[in-house]
Amino acid sequence: MPKQLVSLIIDGQSVSVPAGTLIVDAAKQVGIDIPVFCYHPKMEPVGMCRMCLVEVGRPVIDRVSGQPVIEGGKPKIQFGAKLETACTTPVSEDMQVVGMSEKARTGRKEIVEFLLTSHPLDCPVCDKGGECPLQNLTMAHGSSESRFKFDDKQHQKKHVPLGDLIWLDRERCIQCARCIRFQGEIVGDAVLDFFRRGRATDIVTYSEPGFDSIFSSNTTDICPVGALTTADFRFGARPWEMNSAASICTHCPVGCNTTLNIRREARSDGNMVIKRIMPRQNEQVNEIWLCDKGRFAHHFSASPDRLAKPLVRTGELVTESSWEEALNLAARSLVEAKQDFIVLAGGRLANEDLFNLKALADGLGGKAALYTHMGGGYLTTLAGVSMDTNFGEMGAGTSILVAASDLYNEAPLWYLRIKQAAARGATLILAGARETKLEKYAAHVIRYAYGDEAQTIKSMQKSKAGQAAAEALASAQNLVVLYGSDGLGLEGSASLAEACAGLLDMTGHAGKPGSGLIGVWPHANDQGAWEMGFQPVADLAAEFKNKLVYIAACDPVGDDPALAEALKSARFVIVQELFQTETTRLANVVLPAQAFTEREGSFTSGERRVQRFYPALPAFGETRPDFSITASLAQKAGLELEGTSALLIMNKIASKYKSFEGLSYARLAEVREQWPLVGRGDIYYGGAIYANTQGLGTRLALLEAGSLPGTKPVESKRPSESELLAIPVCKIYDRGVTVLPSTLLHPHIGDASVSLHPDTAVRFKVQAGSTAQLTVNGTAYQVKVLVDEKVPASVALLPRSMGIPINTPATISLKAA
C-alpha cells in the first residue's frame, strides 16, 4: 500500500514525500544537502552527532477546535526554541524547515568546533584526506581558527588493530557509531561497540576473534573520518592520485558492482596497479556493500605466476614462443583431431569468451563442457528469476527457500540481503544438513541427513517442520528458491535442482515474475555458461582420453591430481590461462590470457543479471583476451569468429540466444537514479561508495518454461559404521588461484582442515587441533582436525579448494598422524 504523502517546505522549496520520511532524506530528494555524520540512509537514525541541526516550524493547532490556526489565509507556523536534528525528525504536514538561517549555521559551526577539539587534524597523513566528510564539512561549516588549547588535545592510540584486516585510529574517531550500527543492524554480528563515555569513548571489540566479520571493510567506506582503514590500502595512496574503472567482482555468483582504483606505483616498477576495490552502487545487486573477499582478493591479477607469453612444448622441453607459432601449432592439432576434441571452460570466463568457445566447439564438431562440481543449471535458464526479483525489496508476501547452501561462505552479499529481507517480513526457510549462519533469521528450518537433499524437498510435507514450511511456500505470493552444493557433487546438485524446480512448478510459481530458481554457483559466471548451453561432464578422465583437450580458465589437475594421468592420455592439450598451474604444466601449448581487469566483457550473475566490466589496467605482457585467443585459433582452423571486440560478440550473443534478446553494450551501460544518492560531492551522506555511472546491467528474459523435467532418484551414500563420509563444503577464504595471491588473507585461509562432531573425533581417535592423516581415493593428506558440535555425526566436513580433491561426497579413512 503506498504511503500517504506529506507536503512541507524546506528552505523555501516545496516537497512532497511519503509519511514517515525523515527531514534529512526529504531534503536530499530535492537536492538540499543537510550535513550529517552519524546518520546513514541504510541504518536507523540515532541522533548522536548533532551535525544535522535545523530550525523546524510546525502549524499552531487551536486547542479548542483541534484545527490549525489560520493567519492571513495560511496556517500559522511556530518555530521551536531550539534547533532540531533533521536525521531523527520525521516530516509532518505543512512543516517548515530552515537549514540556511544564521541560527542553524551557528549550530553546525559549534558542533564542528566541538568535534575538532578531540580531533588530531592529521589530514596530510590520513588515508581519508581528500574524501573525508569531516574535512569537507569543516570547510563548509567550521570555523577558520581554533579556540581550543592545543595542550588540552587528547592523545590516543593511533594504530589499534580491531581484527587483522581493519585498523582503528582512536584519535580520529568522532563517535558516530556508524561502524557499530553497521555490524549490529546490517550484518547482525555485534562485535563492535563503545567503551567508556564522553571524551574517553573508545571503539572496542571483546569478541573472539575480534572484528573478523566478512563484511568488515564496509565500515571503512561509511566511517566519516579516517578512523577505520583497511590493512590492504592503509597508507597506500591518496584518493586524488587514483583513476577508477567500473568492474564486477568475480569471486562469487552475486556479481557485486565494483570500482577499481588504480595508480602507477614506483614499488611495482612504475606499472599501473590496483590500489583498492570500492563498492559501486547497484541497489539490485550489492546496494553499497562488498564482502571482504571481493575487496581484498584482487592481488591475483598482479601475481608473479602470471603468464606473459605463449609456451610451446617439444618433448620435455617447454619454451616461450610467439603467438603465431603457438596458435599455428594448436590450430594444426585441432584440425587433425577432427571432431575428437573437448573444450573445457571455467566459470571465471566472461560471456563473450564462453560464446566463442561454444561457437568453436559447435562449428568444428567438438564438445563444450563447463568445469564445475554443481549441476542443474539448465533449470535456472528455464525457471530462473527474471526482471522483477530484487532481494532489496522483498518483504511480507515473499518466501525464500535456501536449500543446501551456506550463503555466508558461498555468496556473502546474498546472505546479507536475504537476512534484511527476512527482517522486512519475508518468510525465510532453510533446508540444510547442518546449522549455518543464516538459520538465525529463518522462520522454518528443515534438517535432513546428507544424501537426502532432493528427497527432502520433494516430500517436504511429510515432516512436521517441513509441513509448516511447505504451507509458507505454497501460500507465498512470490517464491524464490536458492539451491547450492553444500555436501553435493554434480549428480546430487542436479537432482536437488530438479526437486527445487518441481517445487516452483507444483506451487504455481514457475515462470511467474518475482519468483524463480537461483543456483549458488561456485564461480562468477557459471550462469552465463549455462545460458549458452554449456553442460558439465560427469567423468572428465574418460572425456580426456585420446582427445584434443582445450582448457580455458580452470585447473582440473590442480584441483584433482588424479586427473594428471588422464590428461597425459589426451592426444594434445591446449591451455588458456592467467597463471602457471598444474594443468598448464601438462599442456602442449599454453596461451596466456588477460585478467578481467585488463579488458572488457560481461558476466551473468546467479540472478541472471548481465553486467559489464571495463578495462582498468594495461594488458600484462603479451596476453590477449580469451575471446580473441579463441577467435584466432578458430580462424586458423578454418572457422570465422569475432575476435576484435567484446561489444560485437555481445551483439551476436543477443541474436543467437533467446534469453539475451535485445541486449547490447549500450543497454548494459544504462543507469537510473538510485536511492540513497551516493558518490557525489556529499560523501558524508552515504560514504565513500562510488555512484554507478557505467551501467546497472540487465536481467535476462525468462524463457517459455514449458514443462520442467521430472526428478531422477539419486542413490544417497550412507557410510557404514567403520567408514566416514567426507562432505564437501565451501569456505569463503580458500586456496583458490584467485584468492591465494592475496597474502593478507592467509591467516583466514589457514591449512587444510576437517571438521568432525566430538563423538566422531572420539570414534576415530583424533584430537581437536591435532594433525590427522586423511585418505581419499587412495591418496593420503595431512589435515588439521577441528571439532564442532554442529557437525552431524558420522560425516567429516571437508572444505573444497583447500588442497584436498573433493568434488562429491566420498568415503574416506582418517587416523591420527
Partner: protein
Amino acid sequence: MSLTEKYPQEVKKILAKYPPEQKRSAVMPLLYLAQRQEGYATRAAMQDIADLLAITPTDVASIIGFYTLFHDEKEGRYRMQVCTDLPCALRGADQFLQELCTNLQVQVGQTSEDDLVTIEEVKCLAGCDKAPMFQLQGENGIEYHENMTVDKTLELIEALRKSGKEVK
C-alpha cells in the same frame, strides 16, 4: 567455574524477572552478580553472560564501559566513587577529591598501596545537595556517604582497614 555454576539460584532468579524475548535486559544485574566476589567482571564472566543472554561479549563489555558501577579490572577492595559533576563541584567536591588524594598519596583512578581503596571520579549520583559525597562500592554492596569532609573520609578508610584486618 561458570557464573551459573557459581550462583545457580541467583542467575535463575534474575533471568525469571525478564520476559524470555527480552532477556538481554538482565545484563546489568548479571554483571553486578559477576563482580560480587572479585570486584570486577572477568573475560570469562562476560562470555558467560553473553551466552546466557544470546548477545555478544562485546555487547556485555560496552555496558561495563558505560557504567562506572561496573569494572573489568581488579582494583582495590573498595572503590570510593566521588561525584564531581557540576552541582557537587559547586559545593567543593573538586577540592575535596584533590585533598583526599593528596592525603592518600594516590591520583584519581589509582589504588592505595595496601590495595584497600581505589579513588574514582564519577558523574552525578543523585546526592547533589549533600556534596561532597561519594559511594563506596565493596563486597557488601554500595553505601552512600554524604556531606563528607576529608577527615571524616580518612577515618572511614582507617575503619575499613581495621575491619579488613579483623576478617583476616
